[in-house]
Symmetry: C2
Subunit: 245 residues, 2 copies
């Protein structure tokens, strides 16, 4: 068996997320698996580094899959790009050792969330940002972000209430930077729960808008109750930037 | 009469260009005029600083129009944005003196053209760039760009062969900058002919690809023959950045 690792870029706007579903053919994983099935004549299972929700984008999602036969990586990449829609691209592909598994051995993930602070929503950024023209208190948001760093049980920031596995995660860094009219939040951690980045962002935005204080963060974490966290920030502002192994 | 000046942002992808046409309702000017007609009950003519072709974008197109009645500028702007599709936005609107005319008194225009030099076309830039993965000789392109500067008869760089008005224009600056995988060409001039920026870009790209030399530029200009210039670069890479008064 040959193990192939690929790096994928996609605009999530048109898709029902990463994960293949029985009820829709409109997922990133589904599109990729369908092409590999056509190519090989057998079902091929693609392992993503993690699921991205409907509408979420990726600049460098990582996935791997096994094929019986050996293929030239660049030919495999060209074949996939030929049949993929133009909003999904394989930007790198290589054969890797058998032990490589895109999800199980991932060490860190980096996500960004973009908030468009223009007076009128920017036409060119509308698909990749969440438009809020109210002024945000960045200092208070940074204080709140600092309260989130480290290893915690983030159950309050997980939309899956029946999550059976551990909800303990480590956040290494949350940076909040103004780039022109865009406020960019960058999250780096060892993994993120279902909806976690969007719930963290929704909570930080409520801090920025003065609806919560930075000092309220530890009690939200401690409560382990989803209803104590902020609202879910919209999917289109979120981009999976990098997976580190 | 009240004269209103507005600054517009649009993604040209879905439109048949700026200028209203009898055969299609799908133009930027048409969309704007239809809304103002609905609002006022009479036909309103919008004057753009210039036409942009089908598929060309604008970060700050300028246009003006006259209304019998006085309106609060912010209300007018909100009304337009409420009924405009989300890929066209009015980002500024103000009342200006009667003598202001967006086209007749424009002094300079700045256009950019983006070339995506990624190995695989970037998903997030695909609507706003032209993908060429071949290596380009930037030094030779810069030499060629220098030959284009100044006041010349640019008839060779105009797709309208029956142009009756003057084809003399002045180009003040052409800069060629690498920004990550994007090669950005910036054109600043006192005005541009039909297809001129795209023909200049097509010609510069042929220089970059080694199909022409920088020293061939003066003879193309002198010939005043469209067929001596390069191919027309695709619309989607072009953005009207600024109009200076």
């Amino acid at each position: 068996m040959h193990n192939y690792k690929m790096i994928l870029q996609y605009e999530g706007t048109r898709y029902q997320g990463w994960q293949r579903q029985d009820t829709t053919n409109n997922t990133i994983q589904g599109k990729l698996e369908d092409i590999l099935k056509k190519m090989t004549g057998t079902s091929v299972k693609i392992h993503g580094s993690g699921r991205t929700d409907a509408g979420v984008h990726a600049k460098a999602q990582v996935a791997n899959f096994h094929l019986e036969e050996a293929y030239e990586p660049y030919k495999l990449m060209d074949y996939l790009n030929q049949y993929l829609p133009e909003d999904i691209r394989v930007i790198e592909l290589e054969e890797v050792p058998e032990r490589f598994h895109s999800r199980l051995i991932a060490k860190e993930k980096i996500y960004t969330y973009r908030i468009d602070q223009s007076k009128v929503a920017d036409v060119f950024l509308r698909r990749y940002s969440y438009h809020i023209d109210q002024k945000l208190d960045l200092e208070e948001m940074k204080k709140a972000a600092n309260q989130l760093l480290g290893t915690h049980d983030f159950k309050a920031f997980c939309s899956n209430r029946r999550m059976k596995k551990s909800t303990i995660r480590t956040i290494y860094q949350i940076s909040i930077e103004q780039e022109g009219s865009i406020l960019k939040l960058t999250y780096r951690g060892n993994g993120f729960l279902y909806h976690m980045v969007r719930l963290l962002t929704g909570t930080l935005l409520e801090v920025g808008l003065g609806k919560r204080s930075a000092s309220s963060i530890p009690s939200i974490i401690e409560s382990r109750e989803r209803e104590n966290a902020g609202t879910l920030a919209p999917a289109q502002g979120l981009i999976l930037e990098q997976v580190i192994y």
